[in-house]
Every structure is written in structure tokens, then in C-alpha cells.
Amino acid sequence: MEPVLREKDFETLSIRFSGFGGQGIVLAGVIYGEAAVADGLNAVQTQAYGSASRGGASKCDLIISREKIYELESPQVDVLISMSQDAYETYVGHLKKGGVLIVDQDLVQANPEEVEIHKISASDIAFKKFGQKIIGNMVIVGYLAALLGIVSKESLQKSIQRHLPQKVVEDNFRALEVGYNLGLERSKNREN
């Protein structure tokens, strides 16, 4: 198992989750950020959303660092996750050259240059396996965890337990697992 970005490689990493209200974009960032903190890293999470809680544009920024964090919102991000075409188009310009782009391939048409692109069917998998598109966010979180290798799966699980009602925790664990395995596979392929 060789993640793309190994722990030793980074000092500060900025991740932007984006999509529309109702996809659990902010929750994904919160769960990932909380896991990072549990694993002894510094993390600052901010968000921006419109007045509409569903359907409007939604964005969640996460900065993870070994150092004290001064920036509140990164002008340029290392990792961009887009779960809507709108979000992708708005933020792709903020992705660093050589950065990582993860999109929900059923929702986003994307062929940007000079970035590493990952296309997964997060919402579709979630719908087919668990009957709920919204769990797609956990597929993404699992995928990201495997890809970056900077937070542990255990911390993510604890974080999920803390933030979600008991009755949906199991499904979210499974979605996390599905995403994680996809990410591992992809990492292996990339190494080869």
C-alpha cells in the first residue's frame, strides 16, 4: 500500500470539498478534519454556503498541517473534490498545478490539464449499495483517506460515530470502506 502523498511528503495540505447543498459536503470535510486532529495534526476547517440549505452551492475548505495554521481559506488548493459541475467549474482554477482532482464522474464532466484526475461514481455506488446518494460523501472520504494516507481509518470511524445518528453509522462505515478500497486500488495502479 503506497499512497500518492505520503505522510513524510507534506507540511501543509489544503483540501477543498465542493458540490451543492444536500450532498454532505461540509460533513465530509468535518469528518476528515476531525480525524486529522485525532491523529495529532493541526486542522482548520471553514465553509461557505448560500442562504439555501439545499441545492445551493456548497464548499468546505480543510487545511491540515504539522505547523500552526495561519491561512483561513487557501487561494490555491492541493486537492479539489467536486461533486457538481457548477462547483467544478467554479473552483478548478484554484487547484494547484500537479494537484489532485477527485470528481463524481456521473455528475461532473472534467478534463483539466496538468492535474492528477480521479473519477469515481461515489453517489451512484452509494445509491446502488445503500439506497442513499448522500452516503456518496463517505465513499469520497474513504477514497481520499486511502489516496493521501495521512489520516487513519480508525479515526475516521470515530469521527463518523460522533457526528452521525446511530442508525446510519453502519452504512457510513461500509461506504467509507468501499471508498477506501477503491482508493487503495487506485494508488496501487498509480504506483505501477
Partner: protein
């Protein structure tokens, strides 16, 4: 304001030479400026203005309404103004505090209106019948967020009348609420005053949109920085909101550029406003300058007063 309307006002007041209180003069000034709507809630020492308005407005075809509180009063004034009627309210400290949210709303929807604060001794209910000048900074900073305000301050009953007219002119010209920051001393003081003759004073009438209904954009200035108002009911489409809005008036709260453009235009739309009174016009200096640059006898310097609070713009990246 034509001669007939002027005559109507004089007839309602009764005569042109009066021994009147400042509070009464605000009402007379408002009527002479074309104010035809008043909403308010009684409070010492501002009640007399409402009394005069309630008596005289019906005689000149206007409307006086006593509201349930000062929040509603300011709300009614904004509504009436945007329906095309020059409007005002009068209050004192506690009521002025209650009006703060709607003053910000009036700035945001650019509703011309006049708010008279007859300052009494605070904080809180303090000394209801005693005068003070304790709300001066509140006039500038009482509502939340970045905004600019125009505030004038009279020192005699005659000037109370004159400056009220000027408040209305500024409010219509710059499409902004204008404050008359007077105090219980001037408000309750009686002096001999003369109501200016028709043509002796300026009345700025609201400028109607030049563009036809289909092409009108409510918050896009046709020239300069001040958009023209299509009054409610005149057949134009308009949209008003205290939320950040595009020139069309529709909310756009997610766009930083829209907000920055709107709020900086609002902050910069009125130029530095300096008011000089007739007494100063006849002397050696006609505009107000900082005291250090004023020449003249010490007495003249003492008599020189600041009549308007000048919007100050610091050095900054936005105000380049």
C-alpha cells in the same frame, strides 16, 4: 412643491412670523420641503413635532400615523418613501436605538427619508426631559455593517426649520436616510422665526427614471452614483431587499464582487457635504474649514460651528 402647495402649507400653519419651538420648526421645515408622510411614536422631548404633524398633515393632503413603536415607525417611513412620498419620523435616544436596524435597511434599499433625533440625556431612559448630545457617535455607527450617513445639527429654531428642508434635499438627492441630530435644548427652545417665502429656499424633488419601464434597472445609476427611484405603483418593476443585491435588485448574497461594488457605491455616493448658513455666507468665510485654517476674530471663530458631519474616507485599498 409648487406655489399652490406652498400656499397650502402657509395656510395650515397660519402665518409666516412665529414664536415657535425647535420641535415645531422641524415639522414646518418638513412640510415646506414637501414631506407628506409622518410615522412616529411619542417620546419626550420629540413629541411636539408629531403633534404639529398630526394637526397639519391632514390639512395639506398628507398622512400622519402613530405607530406601535419606533421600529414600526421607521418601517412605515421607508415604505411610504418608496411609494413616492417624502417621509420622516422623529424620536429621541431610546427610540433612535430601536430604529437602528431599519436605518441600515434604509441605507441598503436607498430609501430617502429624514430621521430627527431630539437628543435627551442617556444612556437608556436616563433623564427623559433633559437635553444632551450623547447620540452623536451613534448617528454614525448605530447600525451594523459598513455604511455612510449624513447628519446635520441646528443651533437655533430658525436653523431647525432651514436644516430640516436641507435634510430632505440631501435625502432625495443622494437617496439615503438623513439624520437631523438636534437636542432637547434646541427642540424645546422657542424663538421668533420667519418662514421663507416661496422661491426663497430650494426644494429638491425626487428624480424619476428617464428610461421606460422595460429598460429600467432599479439599482443601476443612469448617471453618477445614485440610481433613480421608480415609485411603487408607477408601473415599473422593482425589487427591494436589505440583502446584498445586483443592480436588478435581486439578491446575490454569495458573490463577493457584487457586495463590494454595492457597499462601496453606497459609501461613496454622496460627496463631502458642507453646509454654510446665511449668517456665515455674509461673513468673510463661506465654507467651513478646520479651525486651524480659519482667520478672523476669536469671536467669529467661536461662532463658527460644524453643521454637517462630513463623511471621512481614510487611505485604503478600496478607496484608491
Amino acid at each position: 412643491m409648487d406655489r399652490e402647495q406652498y400656499n397650502q402649507v402657509i395656510k395650515a400653519i397660519g402665518k409666516r412670523d412665529l414664536f415657535a419651538q425647535g420641535d415645531e420648526a422641524y415639522a414646518y421645515g418638513a412640510l415646506l420641503a414637501g414631506c407628506r408622510f409622518f410615522a412616529g411614536y411619542p417620546i419626550t422631548p420629540a413629541t411636539e413635532t408629531a403633534e404639529v404633524m398630526s394637526l397639519l398633515l391632514p390639512r395639506v393632503g398628507g398622512t400622519h400615523i402613530q405607530m406601535e413603536d419606533e421600529i414600526a415607525s421607521m418601517g412605515a417611513v421607508i415604505g411610504a418613501s418608496l411609494a413616492g412620498v417624502k417621509s420622516m419620523t422623529v424620536t429621541s435616544g431610546p427610540g433612535f436605538s430601536l430604529m437602528q436596524e431599519n436605518i441600515g435597511y434604509a441605507c441598503m434599499v436607498e430609501a430617502p427619508c429624514v430621521v430627527v433625533d431630539v437628543q435627551r440625556s442617556g444612556p437608556s431612559t436616563g433623564q427623559p426631559t433633559e437635553p444632551s448630545q450623547g447620540d452623536i457617535m451613534q448617528a454614525r455607527w448605530g447600525s451594523h455593517g459598513d455604511y455612510e450617513i449624513i447628519a446635520l445639527s441646528p443651533n437655533s429654531v430658525q436653523e431647525s426649520l432651514n436644516l430640516t428642508i436641507e435634510c430632505f434635499n440631501h435625502s432625495e438627492r443622494y437617496r439615503n436616510p438623513v439624520l437631523l441630530m438636534t437636542d432637547g435644548e434646541v427642540g424645546h427652545m422657542r424663538e421668533g422665526i420667519t418662514i421663507p417665502d416661496y422661491g426663497e429656499y430650494e426644494v429638491h424633488e425626487r428624480e424619476k427614471p428617464r428610461k421606460p419601464a422595460g429598460e429600467y434597472v432599479p439599482f443601476l445609476p443612469e448617471e453618477g452614483k445614485v440610481p433613480r427611484i421608480a415609485d411603487f405603483g408607477c408601473g415599473y418593476h422593482t425589487y427591494l431587499t436589505g440583502l446584498t443585491h445586483k443592480p436588478s435588485g435581486l439578491p446575490a448574497t454569495d458573490d463577493a464582487a457584487v457586495h463590494t461594488r454595492l457597499v462601496t457605491r453606497l459609501a461613496r455616493k454622496s460627496p463631502k457635504i458642507l453646509t454654510s448658513s446665511p449668517e456665515l455666507k455674509n461673513s468673510t468665510w463661506t465654507t467651513l474649514r478646520p479651525p486651524s485654517s480659519v482667520t478672523g476674530s476669536p469671536l467669529e471663530q467661536l461662532r463658527m460651528r460644524l453643521r454637517s458631519c462630513v463623511p471621512k474616507v481614510g487611505k485604503s485599498a478600496i478607496f484608491d
